[in-house]
C-alpha cells in the first residue's frame, strides 16, 4: 500500500485544485483546461525524467539539459531552412545533444566526481550558460522562427480540446522512456552497474565496475533524451533558445516530485504540476502567479516526502 500513497497524494492535489478553482464552471470548459494542463505537464515530466535518469546513474543534476536540447532543435531548424530532409535534421539534433552531453560527461564531470552534488549541479549550470551564449550568438534572438513536425497536422478531440499527434507522442514517449529505463536498469548488466554506481561509487570501483564507461552511457542516454525533449519543446512551446534552456527549471521541480529517483512519480508529478498551473487560470487572484505552481508543488512534496527519508541531495553522503 505504501508505494501507492504518493500517487494518491498527487491525485488528491489535482482533485483539490479542481474543486477549489474550477467549481461552478461548465465541465466542458474545465475539461479543456485539464487536458491543456496534461499537455503542458507531459512536457515537464519528459524533461524531469531525463534529469532523473542521469542523476540516478551519475549523481549529477544536469541543469544544462535544456540548453543542450535548445542547440539540437535550433540546428534542426537551421538544416531544414537549408533544405535538408526533416529526418536528417532530427537525427542531427539528437546526435548534437548526445555529443554535447558526452563531451561534458567525459571531460568535465569526472573532475568533479568527488565533489558535493550541489557543486556538480552548479557546474552544469555554467555549462548551460556557455551553451546558451553560443546559441544566441549563432541564432539572433530578435528573429521569429517556427519549428514544426509533420505530426502537428494530425489531431483528435479530447474533452473538447484538439490534441495533436505530437502531444500524444510526448505522452507516449514519456511513458515509454519510463518503462524502457526501468527495464534497462532492472534487467541489463550496465543497468545493474548504474544502480551500483548510484548506490556507492567507491565500492563500485572496488568491485571492478568500469565507472567512466558506465557513466558515458548514462550521459549519452541523457543527451538523447535532452535532444528529443528539445525537439518537442521547440515545436510545442517556442523556438527560442532562452525559453527552452530555462524550461529545465520546472523540469527540475518535476524531478523533485519523484525525489530524483522514482520515474513513475516524476511522470505523475509533472502532470499534476501542469494541471494545477492550468487550473489556476480560473482564479483572478492566483492566475498571475501560475509559473510558480510547479515550485510550490515541489516544495510541498519535499516537505511531506522527506519525513523519515534521506535528503534529496544527501544520497552520496
Amino acid at each position: 500500500m505504501r508505494p501507492v500513497l504518493p500517487y494518491l497524494g498527487y491525485a488528491l492535489i489535482v482533485v483539490a485544485a479542481y474543486i477549489f478553482l474550477a467549481a461552478g464552471k461548465p465541465t466542458l470548459v474545465s475539461g479543456l483546461f485539464v487536458v491543456s494542463g496534461l499537455a503542458v505537464g507531459s512536457l515537464y515530466a519528459l524533461g524531469g525524467i531525463g534529469l532523473v535518469v542521469l542523476y540516478r546513474a551519475t549523481g549529477v543534476l544536469n541543469l544544462a539539459s535544456g540548453a543542450v536540447g535548445a542547440v539540437g532543435v535550433m540546428l534542426a531548424w537551421e538544416l531544414q531552412q537549408r533544405g535538408w530532409p526533416q529526418a536528417i535534421s532530427w537525427a542531427a539534433a539528437l546526435a548534437t545533444a548526445m555529443a554535447l552531453s558526452l563531451l561534458y560527461g567525459r571531460l568535465i564531470a569526472p573532475g568533479l566526481a568527488w565533489r558535493d552534488p550541489i557543486v556538480k549541479a552548479v557546474a552544469t549550470l555554467g555549462f548551460a550558460l556557455i551553451i546558451l551564449g553560443v546559441t544566441t550568438f549563432l541564432w539572433r534572438t530578435d528573429v521569429v522562427r517556427k519549428f514544426t513536425l509533420p505530426t502537428d497536422n494530425q489531431a483528435m478531440m479530447l474533452l473538447g480540446l484538439r490534441v495533436t499527434l505530437t502531444r500524444f507522442i510526448v505522452v507516449f514517449a514519456t511513458v515509454s522512456i519510463v518503462a524502457g529505463i526501468w527495464f534497462y536498469l532492472a534487467r541489463t548488466r550496465t543497468g545493474l552497474q548504474m544502480r551500483s554506481l548510484a548506490n556507492d561509487r567507491d565500492l563500485s570501483a572496488l568491485i571492478g565496475v568500469r565507472i567512466l564507461r558506465v557513466e558515458s552511457i548514462a550521459w549519452a542516454i541523457a543527451g538523447a533524451i535532452a535532444g528529443f525533449t528539445g525537439l518537442m519543446f521547440g515545436d510545442l512551446l517556442r523556438l527560442e533558445p532562452f525559453v527552452i534552456t530555462f524550461m529545465v527549471i520546472p523540469c527540475v521541480a518535476a524531478a523533485i516530485c519523484g525525489r530524483l529517483e522514482n520515474l513513475g512519480l516524476v511522470l505523475v508529478g509533472g502532470l499534476t504540476m501542469g494541471v494545477v498551473e492550468s487550473l489556476l487560470t480560473f482564479s483572478p487572484t492566483l492566475k498571475n502567479i501560475r509559473p510558480i505552481a510547479p515550485f510550490f508543488i515541489a516544495a510541498a512534496v519535499l516537505i511531506v516526502m522527506q519525513r523519515g527519508h534521506q535528503l534529496v541531495f544527501a544520497r552520496d553522503e
Binding site: V144, A155, F233, E240, V243, R290
Partner: protein, 416 residues
Amino acid sequence: MSKAIYAGILLAGTFLAPHIALAAPSCGANTGQAATGKPIKVGGIYGAAAPGDFSAASKAAGAYFKCVNANGGIKGRPIEYLVENDQWNPELAAQAAAKLVGDQKVVALVGSGSFVEMSVNAPFYRKNNVMEMASACAVSECFESSNIVSTNQGPLPSSIGAAMYAVEKLGAKNVVCIGLAIPSVGNWSCGATEKYMQSKGLKGASVLLNPASPDVNSGLLEAVASGADSILVNLPAGLANAFLAAAKEQDLRDKYSWTSSTPLYDVSVPKALGDYWNGKVYVSAELTMLDGKGPDNQNWLAVMNAYGKSTDPRDTFSQSGYLSAKYFVETLLAMDPAKLDDRGAVTAAIKAIKGKKSDMMCGPYYVGDADRHMPNHAGIMVVIKNGGFEKVRDCFQYEGPYFAPLLATEKAMGLN
C-alpha cells in the same frame, strides 16, 4: 544590337543595379564635407539581452548621425553618439543615464529603445532638464512623462488601431486583447483597448500572459472563454508566434477575426507563421510600410545601406530611430550655434518642435511643454499575405478616451 554590346550593358547593369536602386542618402546640411569641429555629445540607451533586442532604433540613429557627420555635421561640428545597453536591468539603466547625462554631459538622448530604461529614468531626465527623443518605447512612463517623447507608438495606440480595424472592417463586437502581464505594459495597453470598446458601446476583455510561463494554451482558452468574436494579439513577436501556433493547434482561425499590434509587423513573421495564417492576421503598423516609396522612407533605406551594417535590422524601430535622429538634427541646425552645448537650450528647442511632417508617419510630429507626449497616434493596417505584408487601410486616426487630452493639446498648439 550586337551580342557584345548587349552583354556589356547587361554586365554593367548587374554591377550598378544595387547602387542605383537607392539614391545617395541626404543627411543634415548635406554639404558632402566631413564635419571636423568639436563634437556635440548625444546619448542613447537601448536594451539588448536575451530574450529581446531593442537596439535597432539606436543603430539607425547612429547611421543617420554618421551620415550627418559626413555631410557638414551641425554647423561644422560632428555628433558624437554615445550609446549604452541597459541589458533589461533597472540598475544598469540608471547607471547608463547617470553616465551619459552626469559624466558625459550629453545635450539630449536620441533613438533610445527599452522596456526598462524609461520607467527608471523618467524622473532623472526631468530633474536634469534633458530631453529623450526615444524611438522604441513600450511602457506607459515613456508616453506619460514630461521629458520623454517617442516616435514609435508603443502598444497602446497600436492595439487601439488594431481594435478599431476589427470593429470597423471585420465586424467585431467583442474584442479580447492578449497582453503581457508586465506592469505599465499589458494592463495599460489592453485596458485602454477595453475602454475604446466600451466607448463604442461594445464589449472588450483582457487576457494577460505571464512572460515567464511557457504555457500559452491557458491564455488561449481564457480568451475563448471570454466570449469574444475577435482576438487582438498584443505581444512581443516570439510570444505572439507561440500564441498563434496554439490557436492553429485548436484550428481557431476561422472562428474569430485576428488582429495584432505592431510587433508582428516584422519581415521574419510571415514565414514563421506559415500558410495557415495567410490573409487572416491584420497588423497595426505604426509607421509607413518598410518598403514605402516616400522620400523619407527611401532616404532611411539609403542611409542604412550607406552607413549602417548589413546585419542591422530594417524594421519599424529602425525607421523610428532614423526619424527621431532626423528631427533632432533639424532642430540643432535651426539653433543658435553658440548654444549647441547648452543642454537647457537644446531641451527648449526640442520642446518647441511642432508640426514636422514625413511620409513615414501619418500625423505631424511635435513635442511641446507637456506632462505627456504621444505625437504618433495614427497608423496604417497591413495583412500578412503571401509571405509578406499588404496594406489594407491607409492612415487613420485612432479613437478612444485615452487620446482626448492629447487631441486637446494638439488643438491648443494649432495642429488639428
